[in-house]
Symmetry: C2
Subunit: 335 residues, 2 copies
């Protein structure tokens, strides 16, 4: 079949592109990768169409839909911090871009006489939730976002569910836990330190911890996150029973437990590189974030979380860490 | 202050226009009434601007916002049944019309240097909910609509909440129970019979009951519904604590209890005019509707439901029934 990844130049998009061409069960015959920066084709003999363009333009959505891909991964987004700062850009891409895509797919559905009905996997987020929270957020808990990004994700979920109910597409929204350990450099996201306090010490660099170590949050590794996307591609949506937004399983742990896991993998010389430096702005943002979910519906549908935070660190070492970091850690842990 | 009612030619809009000019606590100095049909001005000496135009056009939203009303009631909508049949029209008015309005108000907010921040009362609906339901739907229950109308209402709620969080407007979404007894003729809505089985027998006309009499639903009288809108206008939104969608209180009763109340008001000769004629299509739609709510948050904020279904029937007789029906019922109940 033909598959398309929208937002393919991002961290998850690029990993997904490689995994999807390797996934023999999906039988991908052609792949389109779209992003605002030209995406890189994965290592494969499968024909890849790399498409560069703005997702705010209806013409871009029409170009994507005109290929009539049977499978579409929608990962395009302005992230939380940027959508908060640039209000118009956030709505233009996160909501209107998504609505243009749905309209373009509906037009192809109608033009095909109803036979074209693509599977659409939408990357949503736990940012659709806002406090006050129960102990564990279950699948019946309301979406009351406290950011524009969260509002735009929640609205796209609702539109995707309605276009699916009408039979124009076959959609599912995956509410991803916070993805760690992100490779590369720290960024301006409030969540950046969750990766930083693992990634930097492993590289022998000091990391600042802006919050108290009793802060609890909900995590997934990049490998498991892309695995979720692939699993959703072969999921029978009849099993969703009309509710097309899924809270995905994750690892709930505190910052102290993150640090303990890091000590287990790389020793206390490593964790000594984490230095507390409280940041009032980040403390305030993080206080509004959810801590724990009851993801039993997604689990029953076959979505499996990382085993624990130590596993999440090992995934980073295996998949993303620079070779020198990998070797230094292996040496330390056998020392 | 200046107030604007969008969707002012509808049943609730027209009632609200009259109530708002009578409400001395609001001190209305000028009123704008907008609808796709030219609204009628209420009986008042307060200057009224009656505006006719399509809410799908950004220019209409700009014209509304340009007057900088301090108080806006947004009642414009394509109803459930029509939004289900005419997919594009439903999205154009119920979602995009609302988004155009919010954008036009934000532009005025910015142009005013931040001083203009209107109160926006949005008429939402219990159609934002979809089953499976708990015994009573509380304020933490998710919005998983099973109609396009419900999806569009839920999405507008999210946008209104985000524009409010950012300080561009001061919005609240009121999830109205089903409004009965509607005056006039039956319409094509699946809920039409809830009014018909009261209104028609009171007028000495046979009414068809398309569902089993153990069907339970959630009701409000038109008088109480417009009272909710007025109450919201003077509500301090800080009390909403960031959650700007309210499940409003109502009367939960079965069709059998509706009929019993009618017998209490107008005698059994009247209820004998109700004839069971099951309609599979309506039975299927109604089966997906919510039955009962826990509206304790709205109650704590001062929203008060009708006392019972008998009270709802009496409101119809006092406010909307033709004079002949009113007199015939008064005679019957004292016979």
């Amino acid at each position: 079949m033909r598959a398309t990844i929208i937002g393919a130049a991002g961290m998850l998009g690029a990993k997904l592109a490689q995994q999807i061409v390797n996934a023999s069960n999906l039988n991908i015959e052609a792949l389109t990768l779209q992003d605002v920066l030209l995406p890189k084709a994965p290592d494969t003999t499968i024909p890849c169409n790399c498409m560069r363009g703005s997702f705010t333009e209806p013409e871009q959505a029409k170009a994507i839909a005109a290929e009539r891909p049977e499978l579409i991964f929608h990962l395009a987004a302005i992230v939380s911090g940027e959508a908060e700062k640039d209000f118009e850009k956030g709505w233009a891409i996160n909501l209107h871009g998504s609505l243009h895509l749905l309209e373009a797919l509906r037009a192809q559905h109608l033009a095909s006489g109803g036979s074209y009905r693509p599977k659409v996997i939408f990357t949503s987020s736990i940012a659709v939730f806002g406090g006050p929270f129960p102990d564990a957020i279950d699948d019946d808990f309301l979406a009351a976002p406290q950011t524009s990004y969260g509002a735009q994700k929640a609205m796209t979920e609702l539109a995707l569910a309605d276009y699916s109910r009408k039979g124009f597409v076959d959609g599912v929204s995956l509410r991803m836990p916070t993805v760690v350990v992100r490779p590369g450099l720290p960024n301006a996201a409030a969540s950046s330190f969750f990766s930083g306090i693992i990634r930097e010490p492993l590289a022998g660099i000091e990391a600042l911890l802006p919050v108290d170590d009793n802060v609890r949050h909900w995590f997934v590794s990049p490998r498991t996150a892309t695995g979720f996307l692939l699993h959703a591609a072969s999921l029978d949506s009849a099993k969703l029973a009309g509710r097309r937004s899924l809270n995905l399983p994750g690892v709930s742990c505190t910052v102290a437990e993150q640090i303990q896991a890091l000590a287990g993998v790389a020793g206390e010389k490593c964790t000594a590189l984490i230095r507390a430096q409280p940041d009032a702005a980040i403390i305030k943002i993080i206080a509004q974030w959810p801590e724990r979910f009851d993801a039993s519906k997604a689990e029953a549908l076959g979505f499996v979380a990382d085993a624990n935070f130590e596993q999440i660190i090992r995934v980073y070492l295996e998949d993303d860490a620079p070779e020198a970091v990998r070797q230094a850690t292996a040496k330390e842990s056998t020392a």
